[in-house]
Each structure stands twice: as C-alpha cells, then as structure tokens.
C-alpha cells in the first residue's frame, strides 16, 4: 500500500474512533442484528466557480456523521445521523442502532425469505489516496487564478457569449467497522475541474466543454493543460456555428476517447450492475438487458472488446482501498473477448451466482444505504492510433465529447449527442459537423467494434456525477478509454 507522508498528515483517525465504532457493532449484535456495519465519515468539499473574468463562487463544505446498517432476521434497516463532533458519536450510535433495528423490524413485516451474505474477510487496514500536493492546502487565490487565467485564453471573439468553469475538490475520511471483525480507515482525495464556452449567433448557441477529474492532488489539475485547451474550445464553438449538421445516415463511426468513457459508463457499467439486473433499481434507474440467465453466455461485443471494472487503477476517480462492506478493491473482467463475463456485485447479491462479492458496494457519504456502484470501468487498449483509424476509414464520422445521453430502461437502445463532429472521406477529415448524435442497440454497437485505440491514446476519464438509487446518490467513477471504431451505426438527429 502506497502511503505518502502528506496523506498520513491528512488522516486524523485513531484508537478512539475504533473503540466507539466497535462498541456500536457490539450494541447492534446485542439487539439481535445478525450483521451490522457502521461508517463514520467526515467529508470536505470545495468548489470554485468562475464566469467570465470573475470568480462567482467559492464554496467550502464539511459534514460528518454516522451510518448504521443492520440485518435483523430477514430485513435490512439503515439510519444515518449527523455528528457535530466526535464527542457526540457514542450517544448518536445508540440512537442510530435503535433506529436501524426498528426499521429492519419493519422490513420483517413484509419479508419472509432469508437474506444470504457472501463471505467477507476480517480486515484491519488503512488506505490513503496517493498524491503530491494536497489541493485543500493550495491557496484559494492560486486555485481561482489558475482557472481565470485558463478561461482568459478563451476570450477570442465577440461570438463567445459565455465562459465559465469550476474546480472541484473532494475528500472523504472514512472509518468502517463491521460484525466481521473488520476495521478500516480510508482517506479518498479527488481533484478535477471543468470549462465551458458558449458561442452564439445566427439564432443558435454552440457549446464546448472540457472536464476531467481523478483521485489525487492539485498536480492532476496542473496536468490537464486547461490554458491551451480553453482557446481551442472557443475556436471550436465558433466554428460549430457555421458547420453543417451531422448527416442522418448509417455509417462508420469513430468515437473519441472522452465519448467512449460515457459509452462505457452507460452501456457497460450500468447494465452489469447485478442489483439492476435483479430489478432493485427498476422504478428509477431501470434494469438491464443482461439477464442473470445470460451470465457467461451472451455475446456483448466483438472479440476485441475486453472491459474491466478495476477499483485499483492509480489515479482513477473510482479508485479506493475497500468498498463499504469491507471488501478489498479488485479488478473484475466484465466483458471477456466480447462475452458477458461478470456482474458488479455485493455481499447480498453475489450468492445468487455462488460468487463472492467483487467489492463494489458504495454509499454516498454517511447518510446513505450502500448500493452496487461501478468504480473504474475501462476498455482494454488495442493497437490503433486515432490517425490510423481515420486513414483506414473511407466514409464516416468522428464524434466526441458528450452533449446529451438517453438510454432505455434496460440499457439496450441508446441515443447520445456529441458536441464535436467531423466528416471523414477517403481517410481524411473534410469538415466539421454540428448537432451530432448517434444511436444503436448496445449489443449491435459493441459487436460492430473493429478497432480500438492503443495505450498512448488511452486515458482514465473521471466523472463525478453518476446518479443512482432513491434517495439519489452520487458516485465518483472513472473510465479508461481510447478511441474506437464501429461499423454501420445510425448517426444524426432523426427528427
């Protein structure tokens, strides 16, 4: 385990917290819980927003609290309560355990079948996000000026109606104890940002944006080259005003890496979540076309498509040491040589397949019930450079950067809009395109993949905005992606 001295300084856990949480676990057991876990989390976030030449918002937030989850007979119960300070925790734990047990008993008014839990190791460990420079220690002036300087580069023409952006910093200190005799301390540190420009004219508005996030320190933002990207964003937004619309046709589609990241998220990350496949998220997020009977049988993509869920990728926004059931972070091959190979699981769903959990049960802070969440969903790189893909394409389009996304409730039929588009003819880009979109059925889409970008074009994109569950929880996830090429895909907005 990598543990920098700065990370060690960030962390302020100790024997006291451990004793309190273990006392809470003991109390839950005394009250009849056959399983219990307790999380004490301190969350700090900072967001600096910029519009034009001004900082328009600088907001810091901190909150902490405890979340107690119990399994009593055949029912789950969860209670999350805010804790002003560590001193309040002993009293709050008594309240929260009582509340969780009462709620679990209410579940038993309906439930009759026994809930099985996959085995979990007994672990005592710590994990801290490696980083070079703690972004919360960087002076606010420096952070704000960094983004202002970058956006100043975007001020190239009167057609640029809006320039805005933000920097987002996130830190969770997590303390976990469970009836499996586990006690785990983690510090997760994330840094990232976004820039938007809008060009207007001729009765239209064209937007370009760049965003990325990762697990790590301020160095991540410095490596994003925001300054050089900002001017390009504006140039592209202005060019889009005069660009022709994307044709509506079935053609060869090359997707840029940023868009592949979203495609992986929506059409692989979500449908391989086992709780969705079992229907637990049906009313809101939906279910999955990957039915339990399809496991290790169904062809998902072409032979060259291999997709991993890997919570151990250095710098990935979905990287952690342990999930919220105390299961170690690990790499699971979801799609193997094009075949649907594994679901993302939890301790109470994995037994359906006689499997053990692959460590992807995560809650958004202390106040929420853990859910199965993707962490870093990544396509394994291939051999092509982007130039080689374009040169190897007689007729098609290159689309990149998400603008809109829409999928059916099984993640089968999808329609994605993109900000950027280019027409390809005879192996060359011949024009820019606006109002870009593509749509397909997920298996056809991935089965038509005949080229994947190489390692040099592969990047782990961070997306801190994955919504799931009721109440809605937000997860921070990563996607290792490279450009890909697909054949016979519908493109354009079919109005």
């Amino acid at each position: 385990m990598i543990l920098t001295s700065q990370a060690q300084q960030l962390f302020s856990g100790g024997e006291k917290v451990k004793q309190e949480l273990q006392q809470g676990i003991k109390l839950a057991q005394e009250k009849g819980a056959r399983y219990a876990d307790i999380r004490f989390i301190k969350r700090n976030q900072e967001r600096i927003t910029v519009s034009g030449d001004s900082i328009t918002g600088l907001n810091q937030s901190e909150d902490q609290g405890i979340g107690v989850r119990v399994l009593y007979e055949n029912g789950w119960g969860f209670a999350g309560l805010p804790a002003g300070s560590m001193h309040e925790v002993p009293e709050l734990l008594i309240k929260a355990v009582d509340e969780a047990i009462n709620i679990a008993k209410a579940s038993n008014r309906v439930n009759t079948e026994k809930i099985e839990l996959a085995p979990a190791p007994s672990i005592e460990d710590t994990y801290h996000t490696p980083h070079k420079r703690n972004p919360f220690d960087v002076k606010v002036e420096e952070k704000g000026q960094y983004l202002l300087d970058a956006l100043a580069e975007a001020n190239i023409d009167d057609k640029i109606r809006s320039r805005s952006g933000h920097i987002r910093l996130f830190r969770d200190e997590k303390y976990f104890a469970s009836t499996e005799n586990s006690y785990i301390e983690q510090t997760l540190l994330q840094t990232g940002g976004r820039m938007n420009v809008v060009a207007t004219g001729k009765g239209q508005a064209q937007t370009r944006h760049f965003r990325d996030h990762g697990s790590g320190g301020w160095e991540l933002l410095e490596n994003m080259n925001l300054h050089s990207r900002a001017k390009i964003l504006s140039e592209e937004a202005i060019s889009l005003l005069d660009a022709p619309s994307c044709p509506t046709e079935k053609t060869t589609l090359i997707l840029g890496g940023s868009m592949v990241a979203l495609q992986l998220h929506e059409s692989c990350g979500h449908p391989t979540e086992l709780d969705r496949a079992l229907g637990s998220e049906a009313t809101y997020a939906g279910t999955s076309f990957l039915n339990p009977e399809d496991w290790r049988k169904t062809r998902y993509g072409s032979d060259i498509v291999n997709i991993d869920m890997d919570a151990t990728i250095p710098g990935g926004l979905g990287t952690y040491g342990y999930d919220d059931e105390g299961i170690p972070a690990q790499n699971t091959r979801l799609i193997k040589d094009g075949i649907f190979n594994n679901y993302t699981t939890s301790r109470d769903t994995a037994p359906r397949f006689n499997q053990e959990s692959n460590g992807a049960m995560i809650a958004d802070g202390w106040a929420n019930f853990p859910l199965i969440r993707m962490n870093n969903i990544s396509i394994r790189p291939g051999d092509f450079t982007l130039d080689e893909m374009i040169k190897d394409t007689d007729d098609g389009v290159l689309l990149d950067v998400s603008k809109s996304w829409s999928l059916d409730d099984k993640r089968m039929n999808f329609h994605f809009g993109t900000e950027l588009g280019y027409k390809i003819e005879d192996g060359e880009i011949v024009s820019m395109l606006k109002n870009n979109a593509y749509s397909d059925l997920t298996p056809h889409f991935w089965q038509s993949c005949d080229a994947i970008g190489n390692k040099d074009s592969w990047h782990v994109w961070g997306r801190p905005s994955c919504a799931k569950g009721e109440p809605v929880q937000i997860a921070n996830v990563g996607h290792g992606a490279a450009p890909i090429r697909l054949r016979d895909v519908e493109v354009g907005i079919h109005e």
Partner: protein
C-alpha cells in the same frame, strides 16, 4: 425548532462583519422503503443538517456550508471563514446584493399524517401492494418515501423566510416477467392517497402483454399520459423558461417572446403555492415564489428569475433560485382539458399510449429537441380500443413542436414528477399527432 433557528440566525447576523450576509438553515429528514421481487430490499432513514452561509464584502463573495448547529462558536468560525474566503476574491461583476425583503411569507401548512407516517406504516402499505401483486401472479417493485423538515433563510437586509415541509412519494412497477406497468403519486395529504388505485393502475398495464410487436419509425398519433407530458415539459423548464438562458440568448424565447410558440389551448403557469405543490413558498434565497405566466394561450409571455440574474439584467426576482446555478421554474402547471380518457382514446384510429419515458435528454436545447424511450406501458390503440402492447419506442422531437401538435387535452390533471425528478408539475394527458418515433427497443 423555528425559534431556536431564528435565535441562532440573529446571533450570526449580529456577529457578522461582512457587508451583506445570507444564512440558510435546512433540517431535512428522509425515510425510504424500497421493494423488489415482493420484498423490501432497502429500508432507511437519515437526518441531515445544513447551514449555508454566504457573505459579500465589497462585492466579493464567499460561501461555506457546515452541518453542525450545536455550537454557536463553530458557526461563528464558519462565518469568519466565509469572510476570509470572500476577501481572497476579486469583486464579482455579476453580483449586486442578496435579496431585499419584500413581503412576509406565510409558512406552509403541513399534513400531520405525513409527518407521523412511520416505518411500520410504510411496510404495511407496501405489503398491501405486494399481496395484490401476488394475487395476480405479478411481482411488485417500488419506493415509498417520506420527506420532512424545516427551512429558514435570513439575510442582513431583513429577509426572514421560514417554513416547515413534508410530503410523500409512492411509486410502483408491476411486472409479469415480460411486461411492466407503472403508477406513482405525489402525496401532500395522506388521507387523499389511495395506494390500491396506484397498484391497480400499474397492474392493469402490466397485464396487457399479448405478444408485443415492434412498430416502424415514423410519425404517430400518441396519447401522452401526464408523467410523459411532465418529462417533456422539463426541458422547456430548464432551457427555455430560465431567465438566465433568456438573457444570454440561449433560450428559444430570446427571439420569440410575444410570439405563438405552442398550441393556443395550452398555457403554462408556474405556481408553487398550489395545494398539490409540495414546494416551499419561497426559493433558495428566501424570496417569495411569484406566480409567473410563462406561456399564455400558446404565446411566449415571461421567464423566471433568481436575484442574481434579475439584478444583473435589471429585472425583478420572481423567486426561482434553486439548487442549480441558474433560475428555473418550480411547479409548472397546464390547465386541464375537458376530454375523458375514453374520449381521448376514441380519437385514435391507429396510435399509441405512452405511460412515461426513461432517461430523456435534450440534444438541441435551443429548439428543445428532446429524445428518450418509453417504458412501463407502451400500448397500441386501434379504433379507440387498446389492442396490444408494443415494444418501447424512442422519440426524437422538439418539445415545442409536440406541444404545437395537440389534438385534445385530457381532464386528468395530476401532480407528477419527471423521470429525473427535476420538477414536480401539474399536467394533463395530451393527445398529439405527428409524434416522431425514431426507433424501438427490443422489449
């Protein structure tokens, strides 16, 4: 807790050395019971406290959010930190001032039956639904939530807005293994909530499951039920009716105010004070929510403002600051029509019913071109009768065009959430022609 919060707020306002100070206290409690495969798989409650402090010094802004109200010294420290943050910044070119007190706002009246609804009550209600599903060999899935709390917003201009809140939301999907049906209800008065009505509505749709067929892309006559209408309206709410989009030339209204933009029988009024609205009577800045006539008889009439957008462009705030960084409508309402469901169906020779959509998006915000797929009850209608289920469909069309192609308006006005839960709106069914179906799913 009102008096305790006001006391804390006044102590902080007295202590503040900023030119302007705004403090928002929120004490929120949520309870969710979720069920699937005829059992409760998640059951929870949480309580969250949030104190959102914003200050301005020489037009420099600083903000901090903390979650502890047990110690006034900690809150004073947070306020000092917000001031320190503000001092670090250049003056804002877009900020003028926090809202000026205009009127005292009456707190919302809350149904005590909702506030006292327990985990056992939720479980017993869910059991009724599950038992009914089992009696029809269906599987029930759904969510029953209760949200309650109180909010106080004060600022150094004398604004003091307080209200409790409390509402519920129930929804269920009935599933026969091949086909699903859906129903939901926004609950503002527990005695009006009829869970079995919802369960039966969802079950009836799930049971229309006779060899679903795939239809071809094309333009169809479609009965959009209220949930589907609300989902389409959402995009106009975000991209067209926002004062910020309007002022920055990014709204279709920017060049079309005063012009006919949808069918003349349709009007859209934003009124968060309606009995069926669970929303607070003021916005996230404490400004009283005004009734805004956004579309009047099909003509683009007005947009909504938060204080920063209003002051920047010389307009009056309408009480529409929200959690997003731009103003948006709160509780959009369309007037109901006079056609019963049977009368609407009778107007369809060949067409479909769409119950609701999933994961809609707006690839072209200016013209409000939206896309999405239907779910949980896409039914084929021939000669006024529901004849069969069809596979879910994808539509791609401008919402403004859809609302211009209205044949008839239903009398079934109801409060409903869009899929994303961006808004709760009060809308009727709409029977529309030339609804653009651009694809189908495999189920």
């Amino acid at each position: 807790m009102r008096n305790d919060l006001i006391k804390l707020a006044n102590l902080l306002l007295d202590y503040s050395k900023a030119d302007q100070t705004q403090i928002a206290f929120t004490i929120n409690e949520e309870a969710f019971s979720r069920f699937n495969e005829n059992f409760i798989h998640q059951n929870m409650m949480n309580k969250k406290i949030s104190v959102d402090i914003k200050v301005a010094i020489d037009n420099k802004l600083g903000g901090i959010t903390v979650s502890d109200i047990s110690d006034i010294e900690k809150l004073k420290n947070a306020l000092d930190k917000a001031i320190s943050i503000a001092k670090l910044q250049p003056p804002s070119k877009t900020f003028s001032n926090f809202p000026i007190l205009k009127e005292q706002i009456e707190p919302k009246r809350i149904d005590s039956d909702i506030i006292n609804f327990s985990a056992n009550d939720r479980a017993d209600t869910i059991k009724e639904v599950i038992d009914y599903a089992k009696s029809l060999s269906l599987v029930a899935n759904g969510t029953f939530s209760i949200t309650k709390g109180e909010k106080l917003i004060v600022n150094s201009h004398g604004l003091e807005s307080y209200s409790p809140y409390g509402h519920g939301f129930f929804r269920t999907i009935m599933n026969n293994g091949l086909c699903t049906g859906y129903a939901d209800e926004v609950i503002t008065k527990m005695s009006d909530f009829d869970v079995m009505y919802a369960a039966k509505w969802a079950a009836d749709k799930a049971l229309v499951c006779n060899d679903p067929i795939r239809i071809k892309p094309g333009k169809y006559t479609v009965l959009l039920e209220p949930i589907a209408v609300a989902d389409l309206l959402r995009f106009a709410g975000m991209h067209t009716f926002s004062g910020k989009a309007f002022e920055e030339s990014q709204s279709f209204f920017s060049e079309n105010l005063g012009k006919q933009v949808i069918d003349s029988r349709l009007s859209i009024i934003d009124n968060a004070h309606h009995d069926l609205s669970p929303l607070l009577p003021f916005d996230d800045e404490g400004v009283a929510r005004k009734q805004v006539e956004i579309i009047k008889n099909g003509i683009a009439n007005d947009v909504v403002y938060d204080s920063s957008t209003a002051y920047l462009y010389g307009k009056e705030p309408t009480g529409h600051a929200g959690s997003y960084n731009f103003p948006m409508p709160a509780f959009m309402m369309m007037p109901k029509g006079n056609k019963s469901r049977e009368e609407l169906l009778a107007k369809i020779d060949n067409g479909m019913i769409i119950t609701r959509f999933h994961y809609t998006s707006c690839p072209e915000p200016y013209r409000v071109v939206a896309t999405g797929t239907s779910r949980d009850g896409t039914l084929w209608v021939e000669n006024g009768k529901i004849t069969k289920r069809i596979n879910n469909v994808r539509f791609t069309q401008s919402v403004l065009d859809t609302f211009s192609n209205v044949i008839e308006i239903g009398d079934d006005l109801r409060a409903t959430r869009d899929w994303w839960s961006s808004f709760i709106s009060l809308v009727p069914s709409l029977l529309v022609n030339d609804f653009n179906i651009t694809g189908t799913t495999t189920f």
